[in-house]
Symmetry: C2
Subunit: 104 residues, 2 copies
């Protein structure tokens, strides 16, 4: 049940902050730490959680590990959200209708 891991991962504000930083561009763990009053292991643990939730993916380059947003997790949330499109505000719901007519 990956949904659970995604929502749990996003339920922590520090993790969302990390995710937002990565959304601005790929970055390594040390760079992510800049400006955050948190230890290096904490960042590493958060990244591990985000990675298991498919919200982030890593790419090792030498002794540096670069992280970037993984679209997989985001699209899984989008999929979950779409199950409740009947309750979305009209402007969002209208979009959802368009979606159904697009590429299968």
């Amino acid at each position: 049940m990956i949904e659970n891991e995604i929502f749990k991962a996003l339920a922590d504000p520090t993790r969302r902050a990390i995710f937002e930083k990565l959304a601005a561009g790929r970055m390594n763990a040390s760079a992510l730490r800049h400006g955050m009053a948190i230890s290096q292991p904490a960042i590493s643990q958060h990244l591990s959680v985000l990675r298991k939730a498919r919200l982030v993916r890593e790419e090792r380059q030498g002794r540096v590990v670069n992280y970037e947003v993984d679209p997989e997790g985001l699209s899984l949330i989008a999929g979950w959200l779409e199950r409740y499109r009947a309750y979305w505000p009209t402007r969002v719901a209208a979009l959802s209708e368009l979606l159904k007519d697009m590429e299968p």
Copy 2:
């Protein structure tokens, strides 16, 4: 920071199950409990969390309290998701572009 409450609320599988039931139609707390191996106070507490997260709203009718999906919370998540539309898969991203041209 309502975002935090929303994600925290959805991070629990029991709460998501309750939400899914409500998505099928408005219901009172007792009806929600049917088929769930959980105590009455637990349901009540979960509903409180969902309500504070704007995912659910209540309407008292006599001694019965009916619950239903509140679009507010869903649209807040949709808004959060949209911030990262650059990373969505193409078919979702295309939709997001359309959204921007619709009603302001």
